[in-house]
Amino acid sequence: MSAATLFLLGASHQTAPLELREKLALAGGKLDALHGELQSLAGLEEFAVLNTCNRVEIYGVATQTEAVARLQAALCALNQMDARVFEQIRLELHDLPAIQHLLEVAAGIDSQMVGETEILGQVKDAYAAAQTRGTTGPVLNRVFQKTFQAAKHVRTHTAIGEGQISVASVAVDLALKIFGDLRRCRVLVLGAGDIGEKTARAFKSREAGEMAVTSRHLEHAEALAGAFAARAIPFDQVAGALPDYDIVVCSLAAPGAVVTRAMAALAMRRRATRSLFFIDLALPRNIDPDVAALPNVFLYNLDDLAKIAEENLALRQAEMERVRALLAEKAGALWQQIEPRMGGNHTEG
């Protein structure tokens, strides 16, 4: 090799099924072991390992052609994976395409949930870990720092991260549009089912105020309440408790309406100025649809939330080409800065 190369070697959910990703994952002490081995690998000048549930990607700078092959062998040996199997799922990119890939990963457009933000934190963690171990150098430092700037830029200037794409997060987003700050909101969860629990968890993670759980079986309510430091209330006290809560999440398996228009109207008379947000996740629906006609009452059912999540996802996907083009521009500019440091002639593509 006449010049150094910036490369990416690994596999992700785009190239490998779950079973193989599981095998490749650098869990436990494997990550440390890999780091130790790569630090002494001949021809490998710099490297950083991005290890998440959806990808194992090693970004590096190699000064010898064989260095990437040696790295692959070390990765396979560590995971006891047949080299032929790895080659079927392998993602190997060099120079500009490697930069473009890292930018797309950090911006969230290579993620399973397009536009998610968690990946940027994971890329930052991977870089920080590599810096701590002293395995990055001038090339990777520049590439990663510019990557973070690019990811921030596309999030600010495009709709790639706009709107929530899970039912529970959409419900939380809607509550924010009504109440602004969830810390002053009281949440009542009707039913201890799975989807109700997920939604309650989403509210809890956004620091919702006091929470209460009720179910037709008090012991179920108490079990769920325990998980959220909430209080359990007997099912027959729902009507009386309704005015005290701002957000009502309903996922009961009741055959008909549990919250009627008359109950909601009575609650609103006592609430007066405060809005009331009903989230009906049950099938069949457990909140009378006529409740939505009351002033200052907002009712969303499972279909409504799913539709919003789909719309948001479609919006993000529609932005992907724009984001990709923006990132390609930035990757090109970055490669122009990096290329002279690598020495020799490189082909783009």
Binding site: L174, K177, I178, D181, T273, S275, A292
Partner: protein, 283 residues
Amino acid sequence: MTFLGLGDRTWLWLASVCYFTGLVLGTLALLRDRRQPRLTIYGFVAAGFVLQTLGLILRGLAVQGCPIGNLFEIFQFTAWSAISLYLVIGATFRLSLLGYFTSCLSAVLTLVSLAAPGWDAAHRINAFGGTPWVALHAALALFSYGVFALLALAAGMYLLQTYSLKHKQLHGLFSFLPSIYELDLISVRLLAAGVVLMTWSLGIGAFHWLQDLASVDTPKLLTAGVWLAYLLALLLRLGRKLVSQRLAWTCLALFAAALLSLGPVNASRHPVTPDGPPAASQP
């Protein structure tokens, strides 16, 4: 009266250009980038406010009093009042889109008043007969109209947000609206502030009217009616009898009524000088 060789109307035109630029940039950003450049809009509104203040000071010096002597000045002063409040509220509450709507309102009020030459054809020199209390009464009344203008904007945003949430249309402009809770909170505060200012203004006015009962004419009663309606709205809101959309619609209707009352109130005052603009008020 000029500053840097420019007359009051030129400064007021420049202020309008700032408000209009804020409006255009805000609209473009919303349509193209689907984001709201709050800081940029705030900057343009603040720049417009400085220029408008300068223009109004020059006009005030020319007419030897508070520049609220004709319909042009009244519209300018009302827009200035709304902007001055927004600059405080916008910085404190960081309400999304309020700056955009305020720049929209100010651009409309100031550009319309500048584009209607008849509104500024006649001037009242020393319109308040050298009585500072009467001038204060009029200025406070108009300032309260500025507060009510901002209240009308907040009420409009409340109705838009309610429509968006009720009809499950959450994208586009709707996605930038503040929460229902914040809009209600700010509306109540603006309503209370407007009523306090107008009560203060009418209190000062009443002191003079009581000394000259014959001067109490229909336009003055109209103004008192506007105040009474706003006061009633505030009391009903505090008593939780007038809430949510009904309060918002009431605020919008009352502001329309308040604006309509400005014409008769202006026409009923002392006769205007027939000789056009005050000395050196043109660039």
